[in-house]
């Protein structure tokens, strides 16, 4: 059960901020979220959206464990 966090406009689009999702990889997680909510699935792969696993930005796929924290970070606004 990885913990999934959404930030900024992604949170408004999805209607939730954090959830537990059972997935063994980032690719599998993306697939599960897209099956549930096609708009969200598209947005998570949209331009400038970064993904952090356990607070480290990752590119491409990554293995997830039961304690992984996966954050989807839309383009940053700055402070």
């Amino acid at each position: 059960m990885a913990r999934v966090l959404l930030f900024g406009p992604l949170r408004d689009l999805a209607g939730w901020r954090d959830r537990e999702v059972e997935a063994a990889s980032l690719a599998a997680l993306r697939g599960l979220l897209a099956d549930e909510d096609a708009d969200l699935g598209l947005a998570l792969g949209g331009p400038g959206v970064q993904v952090a696993v356990d607070q480290a930005v990752v590119r491409g796929d990554a293995a997830l464990t039961a304690r992984s924290e996966v954050a989807f970070l839309p383009p940053m606004s700055g402070g």
């Binding site: 930030f7 900024g8 406009p9 954050a71 970070l73 606004s77 700055g78 402070g79």
Partner: protein, 149 residues
């Protein structure tokens, strides 16, 4: 070096008092305070979201760069998150160096980074509803001044 996020309003003056105290070799302290503008009523409330832990760590990487690049003795960054009313401080940056040029430039550099690339998501709640905002073209241009210098 301190990097902090604050859910509640802060007083930039109290930060400067603490930062400048007891520095006998520093010579120069520059600060910048960003305040929420009311935009003559167009913005009632600004809402800033961070990713706690990640946001401080990302800022910390740039802070380390600034310390090395400008030979800083110390720096402090304090950033509000949550809902911010007009006139309230959003961000406070302080830099300490032997001489004023380094202190000014480091403060300027850090603000350019914070305004364009730091992990914050910003929403404006105005009379016509809420909207998420992105850095301005000016913010990006300001940051790019430091590339390759």
């Amino acid at each position: 070096m301190t990097i902090r996020l604050s859910e509640t309003p802060f007083d930039p003056g109290a930060e400067l008092t603490a930062f400048s105290r007891g520095r006998t070799e520093t010579g120069a302290v520059a600060t910048f305070t960003g305040l929420a503008r009311a935009e003559r009523g167009a913005t009632a409330i600004l809402e800033l979201e961070a990713y706690p832990g990640f946001t401080e760590a990302q800022i910390g990487r740039i802070a380390d760069q600034a310390r090395e690049r400008f030979g800083l003795h110390d720096l402090a960054i304090l950033h509000r998150v949550g809902k911010i009313g007009p006139g309230e401080p959003i961000v406070f940056v302080a830099t300490a160096a032997s001489h004023r040029r380094a202190a000014f430039e480091a403060c300027d550099f850090l603000m350019d980074y914070l305004k364009s690339r730091a992990p914050f998501w910003k929403k404006e709640h105005g009379p016509d509803g809420a909207r998420w905002i992105e850095p301005s073209a000016q913010d990006h241009a300001d940051r790019e001044r430091w590339d390759g210098r």
